[in-house]
Symmetry: C2
Subunit: 353 residues, 2 copies
Amino acid sequence: MPQKVRIALDAMGGDFGASVVVPGAAISLGRHPETEFLLFGDRALIDAQLASQPSLRAVSRVFHTDVAVSMHEKPSQALRRGRKTSSMWLAIDAVKRGEADVAVSAGNTGALMAMARFGLRMLPGIDRPGLAAVWPTMRGDSVVLDLGATIGGDAHHLKALAVMGSAMASALFDLKRPTVGLLNIGVEEMKGGEEIRAAAELLREANLPQLEFIGFVEGDGIGKGAADVIVTEGFSGNIALKAAEGTARQFTEYLRSAMNRSWRSRIGYLFAKDAFRALRDKVDPNKSNGAVFLGLNGIVVKSHGGTSAEGFAYAVDVGYEMVRYDLLTKINQMLNRDAGVLGPVPAAQEAVS
Amino acid sequence: MPQKVRIALDAMGGDFGASVVVPGAAISLGRHPETEFLLFGDRALIDAQLASQPSLRAVSRVFHTDVAVSMHEKPSQALRRGRKTSSMWLAIDAVKRGEADVAVSAGNTGALMAMARFGLRMLPGIDRPGLAAVWPTMRGDSVVLDLGATIGGDAHHLKALAVMGSAMASALFDLKRPTVGLLNIGVEEMKGGEEIRAAAELLREANLPQLEFIGFVEGDGIGKGAADVIVTEGFSGNIALKAAEGTARQFTEYLRSAMNRSWRSRIGYLFAKDAFRALRDKVDPNKSNGAVFLGLNGIVVKSHGGTSAEGFAYAVDVGYEMVRYDLLTKINQMLNRDAGVLGPVPAAQEAVS
């Protein structure tokens, strides 16, 4: 791997800005030394952080801007105010201009999507982007999408998500033909809304060589690893992700208080410390940080806004991997194989955003 | 409490029928001796189970039928084949005829809803039923609905769910004015679909004396106990519930394997056994079994189809509590207070199902 991976960072994004972004990038650099960074934001704040990260500073260039998108700005407002000037926009623009391979931001999701869509444009045949992430399951990892890029969507949209999610799963998990399930409230054919049943029909009929459609998967099927790729529209995908995160947090909390309840349990904890460390490692929410916008002419990774430097580092890792595994090329190949996997031209025309 | 609670059981419902329903009822009877049972189903199978449950047998009457709704029948098919004859129908009908206070079934959810709706009819002002359950949170318990009775729904439907869920929370948790949150993919005002934003508007404007609307709650807010009542349409509610269940199962599995990984961790486990028992008790999925159909002229409780006798007993407990806390009267009072809390007459007319 001779080529370096060039990562553009929105250094002002997230609840903590440069104080999390810069140390996070440094952690990720430790894991992937063949990385270069372009940092966009307030130079004084960034330089202050870089001062204590000499190895990161050596591979980083800083681009100053005063404008930052706030966490609660409406997408339209962020576009109006921050287009061409904000740290978020400039990071995305670096990808567009080919100066970076991927942009990573912990900023406002809606604004990030609006800017990415506006700046990078959609791939041909794709009308709306999806947000995808790797979900740890009992069978390994799965790709789950859409986690909240857009709400609702017809059968064509769900099929496009299935194709893009499969490209991501093939690239990341090295699978020839990943299994794909549609998230639903039951596995029987008559379950779910009309668009889901129509999407199932589309996927079954298409019988695509690049993915194996296995039918409907219920909410608890995600954690079971029922399919390599789980597809749903953005509202329910976001609800599923956050409900699972909430439950994981609850469980961790209960476990902590259980182990503190008596001297016997505290001794037990000491004996089993390694086991608890392994468990914590396994369920560490930081490790699931970093979701990828799919469907754009470029790769943009969204980190949780409230994450720590460790968490942000995982989002940077995701960006790195997407470039290394050449995700964008793979998605394009999938979309173009068989003369347009997404079907009739009218659907493709919707893509003009 | 002089009056006994009369519980009608669909003894053929669920994956295991009488072999789970009857011992489950016996466990619940042990907790609430002031209960009587009406058991509907195959007399030979029921009697065989009752033979080893003398105290249950003493307070039970068995009504024979050969017809049972299968777990995978379509609702329309179940209605056609099982109306007036199936064990599920007869249990619901006992509630309609005033011979039982509540019906409990582990059968096919769609069929149960169709039969309950057909048999009991909707309450005035309610156009579609909701399925509600108690969700254990870090702050105590919350009522979450709709867990999958119907998919989608307009602002009026979401408001009706909020009112009914509040009645349930008031009754169960003894609250004067439970807090209510609408499940959404963000807490900002512009987030979510149109119907959710309109429902928020409706609830804010109405400023009902029986509930305190607190705005939007994200998926991880459920487990945090962000509100006493969490309202969403049935698709996302079902996905949230099952995603949370899946995560809990994953966590339990990881914990088990972590504690088995070395002799040190196994010793630790022995020391902390009581702590693990307390934890298991706290996250026992059986305890969350039993969801209530709201919006009907009668109470119907749905148990998981694949549950054990212990799990089914919790669903019977839920039925018992709904009767003891007089849920139906409370919902009716809420709906009628202030001359029709659900607003304009046109909306109420939709109720004719």
